[in-house]
């Protein structure tokens, strides 16, 4: 029988068992040295990032419900996959997100209010990657960013900015995409190009089980991780709710990519615990039982158990809760304060150089809008 995309008999790298015991499985062996780079402080950082972003996620969904955002895209359940992989990047790396990787942006220095500003309906895109840890724009058109990432990685090769032998300087790219997006031609083309040119790049596929209402099994009859081999690149499936697996496997593949050993694919098995977006109602298409199953594998509960087993101070856990609450309320407050840009920004930056048609349209628009103000005064 063909394996399907959720077949767990495929080797799946796991270091942290769902109950929080540190027990690397066989598939994890080669990655343990990468895990060993982490300090206790790093473990705590993972926990902090995950707890903070989950609280923020809830706050953002509230803002949407209160009519403050046009839409919210929850990341609940996917925190370990995102935090672990983001921590494996180096400052010089470039990150091409999909649209759900809020914590990756945060860890790269993006102000989450920039995401809120966009979903509030005030900007398209909304931030400058160079000023935000090389965290590129969200891309709603599924899988198109995979090709952009590959092209960017080819640029690094062209510039000699990678594979110099100096890991402090060598650059690489990581691109995030989903199980649904993997079916797009763009995704396959990116994998073909990346393998062909041996780009310094990691494809990070978050298999969260669903593409809106469509299960991952509709996208693939074989585990996604096995596809990587077909394209000619190293490929691993990881337990995406194990932040250590996410970190260690991404760290290895990014290191290899920087060192000129070519691209890799990582499939992170995780779950979209929330709705696809606030516009979605998952009760229409999925079973509560599956959800309960995954909630039992919660990435935060797992890491917390691990930290507690190692005797983390209660005060640390309390501090993190406080920090999460503060972070969320600060984001909320600042999101409410965001003011709309001037209406004529809609004419900005359509072209790099002045365009006669637009100059005329803008002048008309400004005069037209002004005529209402005059009429009022």
């Amino acid at each position: 029988m063909a394996a399907n995309s959720n077949d767990f008999s495929v080797p799946t790298v796991q270091l942290l068992a769902p109950d929080g015991t540190f027990a690397p499985n066989e598939a994890a062996e080669e990655f343990v040295p990468y895990f060993e780079r982490l300090t206790d402080a790093d473990h705590e950082r993972f926990y902090r990032e995950m707890v903070v972003i989950r609280r923020f996620d809830r706050e953002a969904a509230n803002l949407q419900r209160q009519g403050q955002l046009a839409l919210w895209v929850p990341s609940h359940g996917q925190e370990a996959a995102q935090v672990g992989s983001a921590f494996a990047t180096r400052p010089q790396d470039h990150i091409f997100p999909s649209y759900r990787e809020h914590v990756v942006g945060k860890m790269r220095g993006l102000d989450v209010v920039d995401v809120l500003r966009m979903l509030k309906g005030l900007t398209l895109g909304g931030w400058v990657p160079e000023e935000n840890g090389n965290f590129h724009l969200y891309t709603l058109v599924l899988a198109s960013q995979t090709l952009h990432a590959t092209g960017y990685a080819m640029g690094m090769q062209f510039d000699g900015a990678t594979a110099t032998g100096d890991p402090e300087r060598d650059e690489a790219v990581i691109v995030y995409f989903g199980d649904g997006a993997s079916s797009q031609g763009d995704a396959s083309e990116a994998l073909v190009f990346a393998a062909s040119y041996q780009t310094p790049q990691v494809f990070f596929l978050q298999n969260n089980g669903w593409a809106i209402s469509v299960p991952a099994s509709r996208q693939s009859r074989t585990p996604f991780a096995l596809r990587g081999h077909g394209f000619g690149m190293r490929s691993n499936r990881i337990d995406g709710n194990d932040v250590f697996a996410s970190y260690a496997v991404t760290a290895k593949h990014l290191d290899d990519a920087r060192a000129g050993r070519g691209p890799a694919l990582i499939e992170a098995m995780t779950y979209r615990v929330g709705a696809h977006t606030t516009a979605d109602d998952p009760t229409k298409y999925r079973l509560d039982a599956d959800l309960a199953d995954w909630v039992a594998k919660d990435p935060i509960v797992r890491l917390k158990a691990y930290l507690e087993n190692r005797g983390v101070a209660q005060s640390f856990l309390d501090d993190v809760e406080q920090e999460a609450a503060d972070f969320a309320s600060d984001a909320r407050k600042r999101a409410l304060e965001v003011v709309a840009p001037d209406q004529d920004v809609i004419f900005d930056n359509v072209y790099a150089e002045a365009n006669a048609t637009l100059v005329e349209e803008r002048a008309w628009f400004e005069a037209y809008e002004a005529s209402f103000e005059e009429a009022q005064s």
Binding site: L122, T123, G125, L142, K284, P341
Partner: protein, 338 residues
């Protein structure tokens, strides 16, 4: 002038008030019941019933072989529809949003549109491509495009944009029966607007009609811009100006006869469309009206369209979109002192 008998006088047993989304759903269901070769597929059209609930219940009623979710790839959906059509099926595919139809563009332009011509008429493409289109819903980027001009510019495609539940129902039935491929543009912002639908009524593709009588100027609209035209005509009436409104309904084929007759009767014309105006459906209409009605015109044809910029972010979309004031402003410039 084409006279279309599409408003029966007597109340019919088939009349019912419903939203446009329901009308489209009803048309799909009725077409599937009438013809086993009609298949509905796309992203999230099955269990979920579509992100706009337009395909709600079709899988339950007709089974997964007739209405099904595809892998997430628009080029795949469209290319597969071509093969199915070659093999005698009548695919009705859904592109989830306007801008997400672009990955399928190559299949549409090079294959869907041209197959009949390339095979000297032997292999027709009775495919319907349903696309929720346009703004006015506060949608985030890539969810609000008016992409009709790309399709209208492609010979071989029929392009339809209804503005009422009735036309949505009847035109979709015509589209599914059509031997030619039809791009069926569904104005998202009108999905929840209600109207009466008579399911026995036939509306042929290619027939515009006058939906409001008027004598001073003609407003030409389609899809999303129809309610704006009607509202503008109401407002103008209060100011003592009588505006006629033409709803094109079909963009290809274009109903010159109805439009020309309407414009010649008033001598003034304003075209209203949400898409950027440059090299667009609205420019084609303005050009045709100018060429064919020149001697009747009291003023140059005016256009009220979206600006030639990307669709604005949700909070700024009202600055981008045509509205009643802009239409009245354009009407004011139509050389009334002449």
């Amino acid at each position: 002038m084409t006279m279309i008998q599409d408003r029966p006088m007597a109340a019919s047993a088939n009349r019912e008030t419903m939203t446009m989304a329901t009308a489209v759903n009803r048309a799909l269901g009725d077409a599937m019941a009438d013809d086993d070769t009609v298949l509905v597929f796309g992203e999230d059209v099955g269990a979920l019933g579509g992100v706009f609930r337009v395909t709600d219940g079709l899988t339950a009623r007709f089974g997964e072989r007739r209405c099904f979710d595809t892998p997430l790839a628009e080029a795949g959906i469209m290319g597969m529809a071509v093969g199915m059509a070659m093999n005698g099926m009548r695919p009705v595919v859904e592109m989830q949003f306007d801008a997400f139809a672009y990955p399928a563009f190559e299949q549409v332009v090079s294959h869907v549109a041209k197959m009949g011509n390339r095979t000297r008429g032997r292999v027709r493409m009775p495919i319907v491509i349903r696309i929720p289109y346009g703004g006015g819903i506060g949608g985030v980027e890539h969810h609000c495009d008016s992409s009709e001009s790309y399709y209208v510019h492609t010979p071989g495609l029929l392009v339809v944009a209804p503005a009422t539940p009735q036309d949505a129902y009847s035109l979709l039935r015509s589209a599914i029966r059509s031997p030619d491929p039809v791009v069926f543009l569904e104005p998202k912002k009108l999905y929840w607007a209600k109207g009466e639908v008579d399911t026995s009524l036939e509306v042929p593709i290619g027939a515009a009609h006058v939906i409001r009588a008027g004598t001073d100027a003609t407003l030409i609209a389609y899809g999303t811009s129809v309610p704006i035209a009607l509202a503008a005509a109401d407002a103008a009436e209060e100011e003592g100006r009588s505006l006629q409104v033409v709803d094109l309904r079909s963009l290809t084929p274009y109903d010159d006869a109805t439009v020309d007759a309407a414009v010649r009767s008033t001598g003034r014309a304003v075209v209203i469309a949400e898409a950027p105006g440059f090299a667009s459906v609205s420019s084609e209409i303005a050009a045709r009206v100018s060429e064919r009605c020149f001697s009747w015109l009291e003023a140059p044809v005016r256009r009220v369209t979206g600006f030639d910029i990307p669709f604005a972010p949700p909070k700024l979309e009202r600055y981008y979109l045509p509205d009643v004031d802009r239409v009245l402003d354009a009407v004011d410039t139509l050389n009334w002192d002449a």
